[in-house]
């Protein structure tokens, strides 16, 4: 029985191809039972890290532990316990969806009945006898995710599984993953550059940029680490209000709807700003506290690194 809390652990992981450094001192810790979103722009090192986790690239510096075991010495044992989807569906086009799963079933050495169960889980039973070359991208992705589920793994490692899908396809995959996490208890490690998707389904987030992890932890902790919240205030006299806000040491901006946008760090500031404006004779029509969305936090994190 595993007692470790992190299902994936990469202490001091570094990786380079030739002279180009791809990963810099990456210390990933993925909690068991989480949906961990691994965010980063294209070229940040997400796919390289996933290939390292699957031992498709050799570990050169640092360590990778999955389920508490070193990936370089326990490769086969680790792969028995995880399912993977790497970048795009690699299916045999001349075979049907059912046959592709039958083929994977032989590698995983699981009973053939499992193929039917997996087809049900990914919602492809109806289309199972069509050749893969006649499938849409979304159908291929579902079969490829089905392959990853065949041996009922504890961990799913998915590299951009919604890439190239239309909004309804993205929603279907998202719902499938959330169901797998909640109903089947799978830990899911998912890389993506679609911030909104990560925000909708993940419990934990890791942000990678230029090979370095800038943040990792619970989703709700990310905004606190990065940029805090903001207060939207609709007022009568914008110019005067801006001066009053500046007197309080805050920097406000405003839009055409006479709404001020003020970055804040704690709730007490809301009351203080409101009180000050009212006392100085400013009409306050609306006060609205808004969290930064993940996209803004992500941009803030990555821009900080760039500058």
């Amino acid at each position: 029985m595993d007692t470790q809390r992190s299902i994936i652990d990469t202490p001091n992981l570094n990786f380079a191809i030739g002279r180009t450094t791809i990963l810099k001192d990456v210390n990933l810790e993925v909690p068991k039972g989480s949906i961990y979103g691994f965010l980063g722009p294209n070229g940040a090192g997400k796919s390289t890290l996933i290939r390292l986790l699957l031992n498709l690239y050799p570990v050169e510096e640092g360590k990778i532990f999955l389920f508490g075991n070193d990936v370089t010495t326990s490769r086969v044992g680790i792969l028995k316990r995880l399912g993977r989807y790497v970048e795009h569906p690699s299916l045999y086009q001349h075979l049907t969806g059912h046959e592709n799963l039958r083929l994977a079933q032989k590698y995983y050495n699981v009973p053939s009945e499992r193929v039917g169960e997996v087809l049900d889980i990914v919602g492809m039973t109806e289309f199972r006898h069509r050749k893969v070359k006649a499938y849409s991208l979304g159908m291929r992705q579902r079969i490829a995710i089905g392959q990853a589920l065949l041996h009922d793994p504890e961990l799913l490692i998915l590299d951009e599984p919604t890439n190239g899908l239309d909004p309804s396809g993205i929603k279907e995959i998202r719902e499938l993953l959330v169901r797998l996490n909640r109903e089947h208890g799978k830990t899911i490690f998912i890389s993506s550059h679609l911030l909104s998707e990560i925000e909708k389904m993940c419990t934990h987030v890791g942000v990678i940029h230029q090979g370095a992890v800038l943040y990792q932890g619970p989703l709700e902790g990310m905004d606190r680490q990065a940029a805090g919240k903001r207060l939207l205030v609709k007022v009568g006299n914008v110019e005067h209000a801006l001066k009053l806000i500046a007197q309080q040491g805050l920097e406000a901006t405003h839009n055409l709807n006479a709404t001020l946008e003020i970055p804040i760090t704690e709730n007490a500031q809301v009351a203080a700003i409101n009180r000050h404006l009212v006392q100085e004779g400013i009409d306050v029509y609306e006060l609205h506290q808004q969290d930064h969305n993940l996209e803004e936090v992500f941009m803030s994190l990555t821009n900080t690194t760039n500058s």
Partner: protein, 260 residues
């Protein structure tokens, strides 16, 4: 080899065979021997009365003509084409990253590919013997006075086919590794054609032609027929050593491969 390894190897082998369903590779396994046997049957069907004068040794002559045709040209090209088709199934699906992340050792996934190639070749050679014997039956029905059954001729034929198969293993090894490592079809075909043409050239009289990997299948047939004075065991030993070396070189490539 422990039980887990054996199960892994068996599973990989079964998966390898399964993935060739409805592919050109599988069609080639059946069609290649059928075409050769059919060609021979057609030639004898229409011209046996001009080729044969008596039924004595006629089956041996028929089968010898067949194996001469097959070993000289067709079998080399069959191996070149088969290795390309086997590996193209993987290259086209870009499935190496999946193959390398199944819970199976590198040794098993690699060896299963070789075993599937051997299984296909053995099937082809067995079908070739079967279709040739059927051809003998067809000719015997058409020319009952000129074709008669001979178990001795059949055993000589089986021995010829087996030795041509074994002696071509070095060629198979080279083509297998090249087609596995590089997805470019032209490269594997190009090398095969260059190897084949150079073998034809050296066989015209070069005394060391029996060291050319692409000439072995053809020359072992000559050695069996007594047309050249090189021991048959040379072809078997040399080809098997070549096969072993290419197998090991291929394994190092497989093991060291970075899956992009």
């Amino acid at each position: 080899m422990n039980t887990n390894n054996t199960i892994g190897l068996l599973g990989s082998f079964r998966a390898e065979i399964y993935k060739y369903k409805r592919t050109m590779a599988l069609w080639l396994v059946v069609l290649a021997p059928l075409i050769i046997a059919l060609l021979m049957t057609l030639v004898y069907y229409f011209r046996a009365d001009k080729i044969l004068t008596t039924d004595v040794g006629s089956m041996g002559r028929y089968l010898d003509d067949s194996v001469s045709l097959a070993s000289g040209f067709f079998y080399s090209f069959y191996l070149i084409l088969l290795t390309v088709l086997i590996h193209q199934v993987e290259h086209k699906a870009q499935a190496l990253k999946d193959l390398f992340s199944y819970p199976v050792s590198y040794f098993n996934t690699y060896t299963a590919k070789w075993l599937s190639a051997f299984a296909m070749i053995m099937t082809t050679l067995s079908l070739y013997v079967f279709f040739s014997v059927l051809g003998v039956g067809v000719i015997a029905a058409r020319y009952p006075n000129l074709m008669s059954w001979s178990s001795g001729a059949l055993w000589v034929f089986v021995k010829q086919v087996t030795l041509v198969g074994v002696a071509s293993m070095f060629l198979l090894g080279i083509q297998f590794v090249v087609a596995m490592r590089w997805s470019n079809v032209i490269l594997a075909f190009g090398l095969g054609i260059v190897g084949f043409i150079s073998a034809v050239v050296v066989m015209q009289g070069w005394e060391h032609a029996h060291w050319h990997p692409y000439a072995l299948g053809n020359l072992v047939y000559y050695a069996l027929s007594g047309k050249i004075q090189v021991s048959v065991s040379h072809f078997v030993t040399y080809s098997m050593v070549g096969l072993l070396i290419t197998y090991l070189v291929g394994y190092v490539m497989w093991f060291k491969r970075r899956i992009v």
